[in-house]
């Protein structure tokens, strides 16, 4: 129960953020609807690794036994905000190797699982819940230009 409540509260406050700030996802203005869609998609596809509250796996800076890195938080305490939307999109659709060629990780590629417009919706939800300072940091990245077509 409390869980649902807190999610509803998060959705409310992030919707408020979308309305009051110029939050964009992949260059497009973000709508409260999109954030809600993103939240549902996140819950369905991402929580198992990145956490119910986007807190990441425990001890996420230390490698697993396999040598791979755990899933980092996406609540603004990790390093997701240091990646441009284009990179976040590419990592979600194709896996981390799309941005760092040859990189081995447990992050699955969601190509074929999520439709292209669903990814910016998830990113919009994540970004809407980052602290203001992290949102601004990410918006100022040199690579924050809209994706070319395709």
């Amino acid at each position: 129960m409390t869980l649902h409540l807190s999610i509803a509260a998060a959705a409310l406050s992030s919707a408020a953020i979308a309305e009051t700030t110029e939050l964009r996802s992949l260059g497009e203005p973000v709508s409260p609807d999109q954030i809600q869609t993103g939240e549902a998609l996140y819950a369905e596809n991402c929580t198992s690794c990145h956490g119910e509250n986007r807190e990441g796996q425990p001890n996420w800076r230390r490698r697993l036994e396999t040598g791979r890195m755990p899933a980092p938080p996406q609540d603004g305490t990790g390093h997701t905000y240091t990646h441009s939307d284009a990179d976040l999109f590419a990592m979600t659709k194709f896996g981390i190797g799309a941005v760092v060629p040859g990189y081995e990780s447990d992050m699955p590629a969601f190509e074929g699982v999520l439709a292209d417009p669903e990814i910016p919706a998830i990113l919009a939800f994540l970004k809407a819940n980052w602290p203001e300072g992290k949102r601004r940091y990410q918006a100022a990245l040199p690579s924050m230009t809209p994706l070319p077509d395709g």
Binding site: M69, H79, T82, H83, D87, A90, I96, Y103, P142, G150
Partner: protein, 305 residues
């Protein structure tokens, strides 16, 4: 035979009375001193620091040296404040740090929060002199944002050729990572890695922006990487980058000193010097000091002679 970095250093005699020498290029020895057994070199402004059982300091390109008695243990790594040549941060064999504000005349212990294992490499952030990085054997990378007083764990060790690898050498390279910061370059027991200072992930040096290449189907330029441990393991014992030319790096391997001018895409072997430690003048990319088993060499042409 491969010996680990730490063993390699401790078995070498550095600036020993018999063999010790301060050499300009390959010229005759100019300087000899008592046994120092160096672990590290650093350039602060025009001052060269050489650390081992004590700290030696030269302000005239090695013509004369002042020796100060170090803390009670051998020094394994050094970093210096870019604008305050008297501020020296040194790693102590067995673990921990000591800081001197007076070029080694007196020391205070630092390093709250660090595990008690030897620090193999220390580096100062390129634009933030109070931000330091320490690579700890068997552990990972730590960061201090208060000039070495307190530390936090920021990144596990790189995973290369099926194993976690110790970082033996570390250089903050003032080139944009595209992630709002710059790159840290690390020499490991099995080749070179780099890491954006967001500590997102260890990676190989990539020519250009990988994502652009993916989207545009562009082809990557030819690479000539540093030897990465195959067929013989060649630990990257030292790695330095001059502040005025961040695309330039020197690396010390058992096969010799290697250099790059394009941030690590193409590497070239400059000489076959078996160097243990390196330092480059922050304002002169060609002024390179190297410590070998036999002493120190000073090159004015990037290690060519």
């Amino acid at each position: 035979m491969t010996i680990s970095m730490t063993d390699g250093i401790s078995r070498r005699t550095f600036l020993g009375a018999a063999t010790g020498a301060w050499i300009v290029g390959s010229a005759r020895p100019l300087f000899a001193t008592t046994t120092l057994r160096t672990g590290a070199l650093a350039f602060a402004g025009g001052t060269v620091h050489a650390a081992g059982y004590s700290l030696l300091r030269s302000e005239d390109g090695g013509a004369t040296w002042r020796e100060s008695i170090g803390p009670d243990r051998r020094l394994t790594a050094l970093t210096v404040h870019p604008e305050r040549p008297d501020r020296v941060i040194a790693a102590l064999e067995g673990g921990g740090l000591a800081v001197s504000e007076y070029g080694g005349e007196s020391w205070r212990k630092a390093g709250t929060g660090l595990p008690g294992a030897t620090i193999d490499a220390l580096a100062t952030a390129a634009q933030q002199a109070d931000t330091l990085y320490a690579a700890i054997a068997g552990d990972g990378l730590w960061r201090s944002e208060d000039a070495g007083e307190s530390w936090e764990f920021v990144m596990d060790r790189p995973f290369l050729a099926e194993a976690e690898r110790d970082v033996l050498s570390l250089a903050a390279v003032d080139l944009a990572s595209g992630m709002g910061g710059i790159w840290l370059y690390a020499g490991t027991t099995a080749g070179l890695q780099r890491l954006p200072d967001c500590f997102c992930r260890w990676q190989d040096v990539q020519p250009g922006n990988a994502l652009d290449a993916l989207i545009e189907g562009g082809e990557a330029p030819e690479m000539a990487p540093l030897p990465a441990g195959e067929p013989v393991e060649e630990p990257v014992r030292a790695l330095v980058s001059p502040a005025v030319a961040p695309g330039a790096l020197y690396a010390a391997l058992s096969s010799g000193i290697w250099t790059t001018t394009d941030a690590g895409v193409v590497w070239r072997k400059v000489n076959t010097l078996d160097a243990i430690a390196l330092a480059v003048d922050p304002s002169d990319p060609l002024a390179l000091v190297a410590a070998t088993e036999n002493g120190l060499t000073y090159s004015r042409d990037g290690g060519e002679t």
